[in-house]
């Protein structure tokens, strides 16, 4: 590459790395680029992938020239648990904790919501609200355990959350199968009063599964922003995340901050469980495997830089990928390419600090070369 070309590339890289936001955009574009190349490499037409994505986002089917708002509704529905799980991961990250446990907290929230739906008081309006609150609290409790183990016994939250994910999964299976008339994969149907289904939203989106969970997620987003940016609690949590010792010195109770942070993070994931259980299904499920919203939430939070708005947007992005899967498959694009894109995005983000080092090294080398040039001029 010519010197001016190299310079242009490093200026662009400099700009990209300058802010977290541009890094996210860059990383997502890079992920899509790799996905496109991969589809080309296996001899399929990548345009079909983009057609599927456009149909998911706008409802327009470019090949047939038809429009159906249901696709938009399904996209939003798929995004809700991702946004909530992303906030779970993100909230913990702001306190310097790595919450791989959103999957487990999600499962606990889902399971408790299913129980409240089947056995709670069948009062219209109250029933589902009770389920939402119970599921959120259950997730908070499950996350709080991890915080307590970390604060009290110095157990790594990474190991503890991985273990508790499986504990949650097997406990959920066990207890759900105890429900009368439950078989190996489902319980009886939920009563009408328990579901989150919303007539207005359904009509607006031509009968999609979009439900009251939309408002739950938006409220949670608002709460996330408010707690982190506008309260003493949020300040002490962020301070703990930035520098634990300094926070302790400043009079912040660090152990308490860790437990509180993990509980709030767990509550978000628990709500995701409720939204899926009562929004997308009309009966309780005996889980056969992970739903993976918790794990994908990690990618969502990383791309969203753990801010409320960023997580919302990146949740919608990953929701688009998830929701476009069947449309891709029907266009001969292996739907797993969406998982590959998510995985690549996470790997690229982990390389971020490395990009920065590379640039610094380049700048140093360029400076050294500059000095040498000046010396050369002098000797002439």
């Amino acid at each position: 590459m010519s010197p001016s070309g190299t310079k242009a590339v490093s200026t662009i890289l400099d700009r990209v790395i300058a802010s977290e936001r541009t890094v996210s955009v860059f990383v997502v574009l890079l992920g899509f680029l790799c996905g496109t190349v991969l589809i080309l490499a296996v001899g399929r037409n990548p345009l079909h992938m983009y057609e599927a994505l456009i149909q998911t986002l706008t409802g327009f089917d470019l090949t047939r020239g038809t429009w159906n708002s249901r696709y938009i509704g399904e996209w939003l529905t798929a995004s809700l648990p991702l946004i909530l799980c992303g906030m779970s991961m993100g909230f913990a990250a702001r306190t310097g904790l790595f919450n791989i446990g959103a999957e487990g907290q999600y499962i606990v929230g889902l399971t408790v919501a299913q129980f409240v739906a089947l056995f709670g008081p069948r009062v219209p309006g109250l029933h589902w609200m009770l389920a939402v609150v119970a599921g959120g609290l259950a997730g908070a409790g499950w996350g709080g355990i991890v915080g307590w183990l970390k604060a009290r016994f110095a157990v790594s939250e990474v190991v503890a959350t991985i273990m508790l994910n499986y504990v949650a999964f097997f406990l959920s299976r066990y207890f759900t199968r105890l429900i009368p008339d439950a078989n190996t994969y489902r319980t009886p149907a939920f009563p009408e009063t328990a579901t989150l289904s919303n007539r207005l939203l359904e009509d607006l989106t031509n009968g999609s599964r979009l439900n009251t969970g939309l408002f739950v997620a938006l409220l949670a987003c608002l709460a996330y922003w408010f707690i982190i940016e506008r309260t003493r609690l949020g300040f002490s949590l962020r301070a703990t995340g930035l520098n634990k010792e300094a926070a302790r010195y400043g009079g912040i109770k660090v152990t308490k901050a860790i437990v509180v942070s993990m509980s709030i993070a767990g509550a978000f994931a628990g709500l995701a469980g409720v939204v899926v259980a009562l929004g997308s299904f009309s009966y309780g499920r005996v889980l056969g495997g992970y739903d993976n919203y918790g794990f994908n939430g990690i990618a969502v939070a990383l791309v969203g830089n753990s801010s409320a708005g960023g997580t919302l947007i990146s949740g919608l992005l990953f929701g688009m990928l998830a929701s476009a899967q069947p449309l891709m498959q029907s266009r001969q694009i292996p739907k797993e390419v969406t998982w590959i894109i998510s995985g690549l995005v996470v790997v690229f983000i982990s390389l971020r600090s490395g990009f920065r080092m590379l640039l610094e090294w380049r700048a140093k080398r360029a400076a050294a070369r500059g000095e040498r040039l000046v010396e050369g001029d002098g000797s002439e």
Partner: protein, 300 residues
């Protein structure tokens, strides 16, 4: 008791992959790199082995062994991503490990779609054949891996250097040890062993690769590393215990005395035991001190 004895081959079949992967995790963590990608790397190994075996089965009787070798290489190759990110670029090791776990599911099923036009590999006619007493050769592979790991880590200068990198990389570097090179080797060994473990799992326990084949075995191996307190002996014991728990969860219906317990009881055991031991031993430092921390060379 008799039925427990009859179960021994099944237990060994479950233990072998967990033990092999856990030894990989041990090597990586002792060098200072946490590898939570064991699960994903096992999936990649399992996919590689299953694919290779399906394609070669009718061509050569050595197909199973070639498949295991391919699984090993595939694991080592993909672990390079983790090594590059966490060692060369000082990336967050948990994030890059998570990325590989996500990539593994997507990548393997994607390749299945391309090669076999379905979401899983074709089933093979015969997997690995059990030897004397119904014990699969994977048990002997696991035994060999365990002894070799212990020997290299504790009886060879290389092992001493590797452990030094995990305890105090700066001191190791000042003694002339190339910390990055050793960590690269350790991560690739862990990738190779995880890949091999995935191959062993798929060729003995099932007839094809699906995205549910590994189903947490890699995370159990990770738990075994913590529960075994980062010592070869301990990790081997932990793998034996956890493998037995997994086997019991599956075969307990055959055992009269255990029939009243829910199968989830044994499934959940490894995870609960691990958390409880981490709590009990929380006061003492067993984990390699520098595990999870990037090593930045001073002055360069």
């Amino acid at each position: 008791m008799n039925s427990l004895l009859n179960m021994t081959p099944s237990v060994l079949m479950m233990v072998a992959p967990i033990l092999i992967a856990a030894m990989g995790g041990l090597v990586s963590e002792r060098s200072g790199v946490v590898n939570i990608a064991l699960e994903g790397l096992m999936g990649i190994g399992a996919f590689a082995a299953a694919t290779c075996h399906v394609l070669l089965e009718s061509a050569t009787p050595l197909s199973v062994w070639i498949a295991l070798a391919v699984a090993l290489l595939a694991g080592a190759l993909i672990s390079l991503i983790h090594a590059y990110a966490s060692i060369t670029l000082n990336a967050d090791q948990v994030i890059s490990g998570t990325g590989i776990n996500l990539l593994a599911t997507g990548g393997t099923v994607f390749l299945c779609q391309i090669i076999f036009h379905q979401e899983r590999t074709e089933p093979y006619r015969l997997g690995m054949l059990p030897g004397a007493g119904g014990v699969y050769p994977t048990a002997y592979i696991a035994l060999a891996v365990m002894i070799l790991t212990w020997y290299v880590l504790y009886k060879r200068p290389f092992g001493l250097r590797l452990r030094a990198c995990g305890e105090h990389p700066a001191a190791a570097a000042s003694a002339g040890i190339d910390v990055r090179k050793i960590r690269y080797i350790a991560v690739m060994v862990s990738g190779a062993l995880a890949g091999l473990a995935g191959g062993c799992l798929v060729l003995t326990q099932t007839i094809q690769y699906t995205m549910y084949t590994i189903n947490g075995a890699g995370f159990i191996a990770l738990a075994a590393v913590s529960f075994g307190r980062w010592l070869p002996k301990g990790v081997a014991g932990a793998s034996l215990l956890f493998g037995a728990a997994v086997a019991l969860a599956i075969y307990m219906v055959n055992i009269q005395a255990l029939r009243s317990l829910p199968p989830e009881f044994f499934s959940v055991l490894p995870y609960i035991i691990t958390i409880v031991t981490l709590v009990i031993f929380s006061g003492r430092d067993y984990a390699p001190r520098a595990a999870g921390q990037p090593f930045e060379k001073g002055g360069s």
